[in-house]
C-alpha cells in the first residue's frame, strides 16, 4: 500500500485550484498557494529537507490585496534561470520574481483572468503566460507583451497546453462555460468537443491524451477528439493532474475531490488504482521534488492546509497500491459475476416455468407478468403547444398492448435541471402511453436514455424497458410554410459545391421533420419556426451551390454553418453575412464600453483625491488630540467617518461600473466569436484576427465590415 512520504500542515486555508510548485531561486522548491484576503503564501522546505519526517517549512506571505482568481509558476523568462510566480485577479495579471522580490510585469487585463497556463504555444518561441478571461484568451511573454490573443465562445474556466495533433508543438486546450472544449493551434480552432457541463479543469497526460473535469462531478480522458472514458461522482473534482504513480511509464489521472478524496485512475480504463482521503476538500495537486532527494513526488493540498506527498510506487509493489490484495478482489469480483449469471439463469428458468400456464391471472399481474411480445415504441415529434403549454418537442412512449407505463425515467445530459427527468403519473392517470415534453435549451444533439417501467395497474414488480433515442441537433425548430411578412432581414450567404441531395440528408438528420424530406433538385427552400421564440429560419438552396440562411439569431446561423460544414466535410468556408439588428446592438455596446472606461477613470481620480483629503484630516485629528483639543478632534473624526462612508459608496459604484464593463466587454468578445463561427477554417481565423485589429484601432465601421464580408480590405 502506498503511504505518504511526508505530510505537513500549513496553518492557513488554501483557495481551491490555486496551488503551484516552483523553484523561485533556481534550486529550492517552494509551494505557492493563494489564501484568504488576497494573499499568496510561499512555503519552502527548510534545512531539514530530505528527512523522512515532514519537511520543516519556512513560510512567507505576499500581499496581492485583490481576490486571486488564478495562480501558476514556471519558467517565463529562460534567461533568469529560475521560476516566476504568476498571479491573476479579476483585473490584473502579475508576473512576480519571488527571489528578487520584484515585478516582472503587472498588466491590466480587462477581461479578467479565470485560468492561467504557462508554457510554449505553437511556433511562438518564448514561453507565454496564457490567461483565459471573459470569452478572451491572451498570452504574455516575460516582458508583458501580448503575443497571443483570440476569443472563444464563453467565459474560460480551464486551460491546458498539449500536443494535440502530434506535430511536436503545443496546442492550447480551452474549457469554457458553454460546455465546449476547444483546441487552438495558435489562434486557429482545430477541434471542438461538446461536453455536458462547464469544464472546470484540463490536464495534459501524454501525447494527444488529456484529462478533463466538469462542474457536475464528471472526470474523464480524451485522446484527440475521442473520449476514452469518463466517470461521474456526486462530488466535484477540484483539481486533476497527470502523474505516473505506479511507475509503469504511463501517467495516471489523479483527481482531487471536494469530499477530500484523492484517487488515481488508469488512463486507459478509468479503473481506480490508488485512493486516499483528506479531512477536507482538496485544493490542488502538483508535482515536484519537494524533499530535494532526486525523486519527484505527487503533492496533494487540502483547503485546510494539509499537504501530503507521495512517491511513485516502486517495482516491489507491482503496481498494487491499494490496501487489499489484488487476488482477493479479483476472486470477489469473479464470484460476484458468477452469482449474477446464476441469478439471471434462474430468472430464465422461472420464466420458462411460468410460461407453461399461459393464462394471465390477477395475481400474475401483481408479480409483473406481462405478455412476452410487449414492445415499447417511441416517437419524437414537434408539438406547437397550446394555451396552457408552450411549444416543445414531444417524446411519445407507448406499449403495444394493455400493459401500462408506471413511470418513465429519462437520463440525458444538458437538457434537464439534473441528469434525469421522471414522469410518474398518478394511479388514476395510468395508461399505456406517456407523453414527455422536452425543451432542450441548446442546439446540440442529445442522447436520451429511456427507462420505462412497464407492468399492470396493481403490480409491485415491473419490467424495465431500456432504449436510447437521439434528439436531433435542431429539434426545437418546426417546419413551417414560407411567410414573407416575417422573413428575417438577417442572412448568411455562402457557396458550397455540394449536391442538393447531400444537403437534404443533412436536413433529415438535423431537424425533426414530419416525414423525411423528398429529394428535391435545387433550387428549393425550407422554412422553420423556432419553438423557443417563434423566430423564423429559412434555408434557400439556389442552383450553383449557393446557399442562403436567413435568421435573426446569429448563434443559430453559426450553429447551422458549423453543423453543415462538419456533415459535408468542408474545411474552409467564407461567407457573406448581415445581421442589422445584432450589429446595431453591438454598436451600442461598443459605445457603452467607451463610456464605462471614462467613468472608471473619473472614479479613480476621485478616489485619489479622497485619499489626499483623508491624509490631511487624519493629521489634523491627531494634532488636535496631542494638543488636547478634544472637540476639534471629534469633529475631524466625524469628518473622517463621513469620508469613509463616501469612499465605500464610491467603491460600490466602481464595482457596479466594473461589472457592467465586464459584461459589455464579454458581449464584444462574443460578437467576434460569433462572427467567426459563421465561417469555417482559415476564413474563421482571419475574421477573428481582423476584428481584433479593428477594435484596437477603434474603427467600428471596419469591424462591422469585417463581420459582414470576412476581410478588412474590400
Amino acid at each position: 500500500m502506498l503511504v505518504p512520504v511526508f505530510t505537513l500542515k500549513l496553518n492557513y486555508k488554501i483557495l481551491p485550484r490555486m496551488v503551484a510548485l516552483g523553484r523561485f531561486d533556481g534550486t529550492h522548491p517552494c509551494l505557492a498557494a493563494a489564501t484568504q484576503a488576497g494573499k499568496v503564501t510561499a512555503a519552502s522546505p527548510g534545512a531539514a529537507a530530505g528527512a523522512r519526517a515532514a519537511p520543516h517549512s519556512d513560510i512567507s506571505l505576499l500581499n496581492i490585496n485583490q481576490g486571486i482568481t488564478c495562480l501558476t509558476s514556471g519558467v517565463l523568462d529562460p534567461q533568469l534561470g529560475y521560476d516566476s510566480l504568476l498571479v491573476g485577479t479579476q483585473t490584473n495579471l502579475l508576473a512576480y520574481d519571488v527571489h528578487n522580490n520584484s515585478d516582472l510585469f503587472y498588466r491590466e487585463v480587462s477581461d479578467g483572468a479565470n485560468a492561467i497556463v504557462l508554457g510554449t504555444l505553437g511556433d511562438i518561441s518564448s514561453p507565454l503566460a496564457i490567461i483565459g478571461g471573459n470569452c478572451a484568451l491572451q498570452g504574455f511573454d516575460s516582458e508583458g507583451n501580448d503575443l497571443f490573443w483570440t476569443v472563444t465562445g464563453d467565459n474560460v474556466r480551464s486551460l491546458a497546453l498539449c500536443d494535440f495533433d502530434g506535430d511536436g508543438k503545443n496546442e492550447l486546450l480551452v474549457g469554457s462555460e458553454d460546455f465546449d472544449i476547444r483546441v487552438f493551434k495558435e489562434d486557429e480552432i482545430v477541434a471542438e468537443m461538446s461536453e455536458t457541463e462547464t469544464i472546470t479543469a484540463l490536464s495534459p497526460m501524454y501525447g494527444s491524451r488529456f484529462g478533463y473535469a466538469l462542474s457536475n462531478g464528471t472526470v474523464g480522458v480524451y485522446d484527440k477528439t475521442a473520449r476514452y472514458w469518463r466517470i461521474k461522482s456526486k462530488n466535484h473534482a477540484m483539481s486533476i493532474h497527470a502523474f505516473d504513480l505506479n511507475s509503469d511509464g504511463v501517467c495516471e489521472l489523479i483527481t482531487g475531490w471536494s469530499n477530500g478524496k484523492v484517487d488515481a485512475r488508469s488512463d486507459r480504463t478509468g479503473e481506480v488504482i490508488f485512493k486516499d482521503n483528506f479531512a477536507s476538500s482538496i485544493a490542488g495537486l502538483v508535482e515536484g521534488d519537494y524533499r530535494m532527494d532526486g525523486n519527484t513526488q505527487l503533492i496533494c493540498c487540502s483547503v485546510d492546509g494539509e499537504v501530503r506527498g507521495y512517491l511513485p510506487g516502486g517495482q516491489e509493489m507491482k503496481g498494487n497500491l491499494m490496501d487489499s490484495s489484488v487476488e482477493q478482489d479479483l476472486i470477489r469480483e469473479l464470484s460476484q459475476k458468477k452469482q449474477n449469471l446464476l441469478l439471471e439463469l434462474r430468472n430464465y428458468e422461472e420464466n420458462a416455468k411460468a410460461e407453461l400456464n399461459t393464462q394471465l391471472k390477477e395475481a400474475d399481474g401483481q408479480r409483473g407478468v406481462i405478455p412476452a411480445n410487449t414492445q415499447l415504441q417511441t416517437a419524437l415529434s414537434v408539438n406547437l403547444g397550446s394555451d396552457s403549454q408552450s411549444a416543445h418537442v414531444e417524446l411519445c412512449i407507448s406499449t403495444t398492448n394493455d400493459t401500462i407505463i408506471r413511470a418513465v425515467l429519462i437520463f440525458a445530459e444538458g437538457i434537464f435541471e439534473g441528469e434525469s427527468h421522471v414522469v410518474h403519473p398518478s394511479l388514476q392517470n395510468l395508461s399505456s402511453c406517456v407523453r414527455v415534453p422536452l425543451t432542450p435549451p441548446k442546439d446540440v444533439p442529445v442522447d436520451l436514455h429511456i427507462k420505462a417501467i412497464v407492468g399492470y395497474r396493481n403490480s409491485t414488480q415491473f419490467h424495465v424497458f431500456e432504449l436510447t433515442r437521439q434528439l436531433p441537433r435542431f429539434s426545437m425548430y418546426a417546419l413551417s410554410g414560407p411567410d414573407l411578412a416575417t422573413e428575417p432581414l438577417s442572412y448568411v450567404n455562402c457557396t458550397m459545391n455540394e449536391r442538393a441531395q447531400r444537403i437534404v440528408m443533412w436536413l433529415n438528420q438535423s431537424f425533426l421533420l414530419p416525414e423525411d424530406a423528398e429529394l428535391q433538385s435545387a433550387p428549393f427552400q425550407v422554412c422553420f419556426t423556432s419553438l423557443r421564440n417563434a423566430g423564423q429560419l429559412c434555408i434557400k438552396i439556389k442552383p450553383g451551390g449557393e446557399i442562403s440562411i436567413s435568421t435573426d439569431d446569429i448563434d443559430l446561423a453559426g450553429d447551422i454553418i458549423q453543423s453543415m460544414a462538419s456533415f459535408l466535410a468542408i474545411e474552409d468556408l467564407q461567407v457573406e453575412a448581415d445581421f442589422p439588428a445584432y450589429f446595431e446592438e453591438l454598436r451600442k455596446v461598443l459605445v457603452k464600453v467607451d463610456e464605462r472606461h471614462a467613468v472608471n477613470q473619473r472614479l479613480t481620480a476621485d478616489m485619489a483625491e479622497h485619499s489626499n483629503v483623508i491624509r490631511s484630516v487624519l493629521v489634523q485629528a491627531e494634532d488636535a488630540r496631542l494638543l488636547g483639543d478634544m472637540q476639534n478632534m471629534k469633529k475631524r473624526y466625524i469628518e473622517l467617518y463621513d469620508l469613509n462612508r463616501d469612499l465605500i459608496n464610491q467603491y460600490k459604484i466602481r464595482c457596479n461600473n466594473h461589472t457592467e464593463l465586464l459584461n459589455n466587454l464579454k458581449a464584444v468578445n462574443q460578437a467576434i466569436q460569433r462572427a467567426g463561427r459563421l465561417r469555417v477554417g482559415k476564413p474563421k481565423t482571419q475574421v477573428i484576427t481582423a476584428c481584433r485589429d479593428a477594435i484596437r484601432s477603434n474603427n467600428f465601421n471596419m469591424l462591422f465590415r469585417i463581420m459582414r464580408v470576412g476581410t478588412a480590405s474590400s
Binding site: K13, Q36, A37, K39, S233, K234, S325, E327, Q328, L330, I331, R332, L334, S335, Q336, K338, Q339, N340, L341, L342, L343, E344, L345, N347, Y348, E350, N351, A352, A354, E355, D364, G368, V369, I370, P371, A372, N373, T374, Q375, R406, A407, F411, F416, E417, G418, E419, H421, V422, H424, P425, S426, K451, I453, S459, T460, Q461, F462, H463, V464, F465
Partner: protein
Amino acid sequence: MLKLLCTKFARKDYNIVGVTAQKTMRLLPASGRRATQKVVVGDQDGVITCFGIKKGEAVPVFKTLPGQKIARLELGGALNTPQEKIFVATGSEVKGFTKRGKQFLSFETNLTESIKAMHISGADLFLCASYIYNHYCDCKDQHYYLSGDKINDVLCLPVEKVNCITPVLACQDRVLRVLQGSDLLYEVEVSGPPTVLALNNGNGGDSGEEIVFGTSDGKVGLVQITGSSPVHKWEIGNEKKRGGILCIDSFDIVGDGVKELLIGRDDGMLEVYNFESADDPVLLSDHALSESIASIQGGCVGKDGYDEILACTYSGWLTGLTTEPIHREGGSGEELKLSQEMQSKISSLRSELESLQIKVLQEREKYQQASQSSTAMSSVPAFSVNDKFTLNKDDASYSLILEVQTAIDNVLVQSDVPIDLLDVDKNSAVVSFSSCDSEPNSNFVLATYRCQANTTRLELKVRSIEGQYGTLQAYVTPRIQPKTCQVHQYQIKPLSLHQRTHSIDHDRPMNTLMLKGQFSFAEIHSWVVFCLPEVPEKTPAGESITFYFQNTFLGTQLESTYRKGEGLFKSDNISTISILKDVLSKEATKRKINLNISYDINEDSVRYTLKLIHPKLEYQQLLAKKVHLIDALKELQVHEGNVDFLLPKYRSILEESDQLLEEYKKQPAHLERLYGMITDLFIDKFKFKGTNVKTKVPLLLEILDGCDQDGLIAFFEAAA
C-alpha cells in the same frame, strides 16, 4: 511467552450462498484432531450449506435441496455435550440435521404464521412468530404467550446455571419481556427497539443471568435478568450514527483470556469491543464490509492456529477477518504457495464463468425468441430487497435503507407529500431531482439515484413535516438481466416525528382531545396506527390501551388512551392535538362514523411549550451567528498574523470553528424547522379559538429573529 495483542485483521472471502436472514450462520464445534471448524449456513432459497476450508478453498461437506426460506439456524444437542446438531426454522417447520447433513427431525409446528425467531436448549425449543411465543419440550407444546408488539428475537437463560426455564423476548415496543411458563414475569425497558439477544460471554456470565441486547438504532446493552427485577449493567450508545445491530457474539479473538464482544450492524460495520478496563466495553477495532452483516461468530475456520471472525452478509458472502497475516515479511516460500492457491482458485472460477456465460447467452436468446410469440408470457421472479425505514431520534429525520442482493442500477424515489431528501455522505450514488407536477399527478418529489458499479446498499435521509401525510415510493432496479424493478411503499404518517416512549412527564400542562362515538376498539386502533408510527398493527388484547409518545424534534409529548367508543389524547403541544383532530375526523367521515369531538385547550401549555422550545431556538440562532463569523475572523487572523487583539468571545469562535461547522453541517435547516413549528403552534392556538391569524405570521417571524423569550410569549398571548 507473551502473546502479541493483534487488532489488525486481514479479510478473506470464502464463499457465497443465497440471500441470508439474520442469525442463520454458525460454526460447528471442532471435532477430532482437526482444529478448524466447519461453517453451516442457511439461505433464503432454503438451502443449508456446510463447508470447511482447505488450503484457502471452500470444500463442501453437504448441501440440502432448495425449499422455503430459512429464517433462523441454531445449533443444539443434549446439554453438556458438543452442540453440533443443526436446527433450522423454515416456514412453520423446524428441521434438524446432523453435522453430516442427515435429516433426523422434521417438526411441523401448530403455528399459523411462519417462524421468525428460534432458540434451542437441550430438548427445549423456543419459537416465535410475529406476535406469538411457543415453548416446546421434545416437540410437545408446553407454554404459549401473546406479545403486545412484534417479537424480534428470543433467548432462554442457560438452564444449567439458573435452574429454571427463563425465556426472554425482544419486542419491537422497546421492551424485553421475561416470561415464566405462559406468563409475563416482568418487562425490561430498553432505549431502542431490540433486534437481537445474546448470552453475555456466550454463557450468561457467572450468574448465567446476563444477556446482551442490540437495538435497531444501533445501541448495545447488558442487562442482568434476576428472578425479580432487571439490573442494567452498561450500554454502548451510537455516537457515530452507525447502523442497527443484527448479530452479537462473544469470542476471545485477541487471545488475552477475556472474551471480546463481536457486533455486526446493518450498515456493514463489524465491531470488536473488549473489557480490558473495568466492566465497560471499549471499542477495540472496527471493519467496514459493504453490506449488512446478518450473522457473526468467532472461531477458527481458515487456518489452524489462527482465530478469526466469520461474518455472513445479507447477500450471502461468508467473509472471514483473520488474525493470520496475509503478506508476511520474509518467508517468501509461504507467500508463493499462497499466491499459487489463489491462482488456481481464480482459474477455476474463470472457467466456471465461461461455461455459465455460454449457458446464459443461450437462455437469453430463447427469452428473446419468446417475445415473438403472441401467447407467451414474460415473468421474472421477485428479487429480494432488504429495506428499513426508521425515525432517527437525534435529528428527527427518517432514514430509508435499501439493500439488494446484486448491484443496484438506479432507484426512483417518488412522494405524494412534500418531504426533503437529504444527502448521506457515504452514498456514492448520483442524485438528480426531476421537476414535479403536483397537479394532476400529485408528485411532490421525484428523484433518481443512479448508483455506481457494485453498490448493493443505498441509504437516504428523509425529512418530513408533521401534519402532511402520504406515501413515499421507491422503485428499485437492480443491474441484472432481464431488467426488472420493484416498488416499495413507506407511509409518512401525520404525526411522523413522534416516537414511542416508556413514560411521560404527567406534570406538564396538557391539552386534551376527547372522541366519543359508535366505533369499535379495532377501528379506533386502526386510526391511531394511521396517525402514529411504531404502533403495532394488531389490535391490542384487553379492553383499553395507553401509548406514550414523544416528539423527537421538540421534546413535547402525547398520551393516547382509547377503548371501544372512546378515545382520549393528551399533549402539551397544541399542534399535535390539532393534527390529530383533523386527521381523526377525516378518517371517521370516510367510514361514515359520527364522531363527537370535544377538546380542552390549556393556555399554560403554549407558554410551557414555548419555554421548552426557546433554549433550542436560542442555541441554534447563536450557532448560526457564530458560523457566519468564522470566515471573516479567519481572514482577520491571516491579515494580522495572530489573534491576540480579538475579544475572547471571538477568539473562542476561532478555536472552536471546526466543531461549530461540524455541528452546523449535521443539522441542516434546523432553525427553519423550528421556525416552522413555532408558526404552526401560533396558528393552531388561535385556530382552536376560531380566529385566523395567518396575517400576523410575518410579525411573528420578526419576533423570532429577535430571539427574546418573553417577547415571544407576550406576542402569543397578546395577538388575538
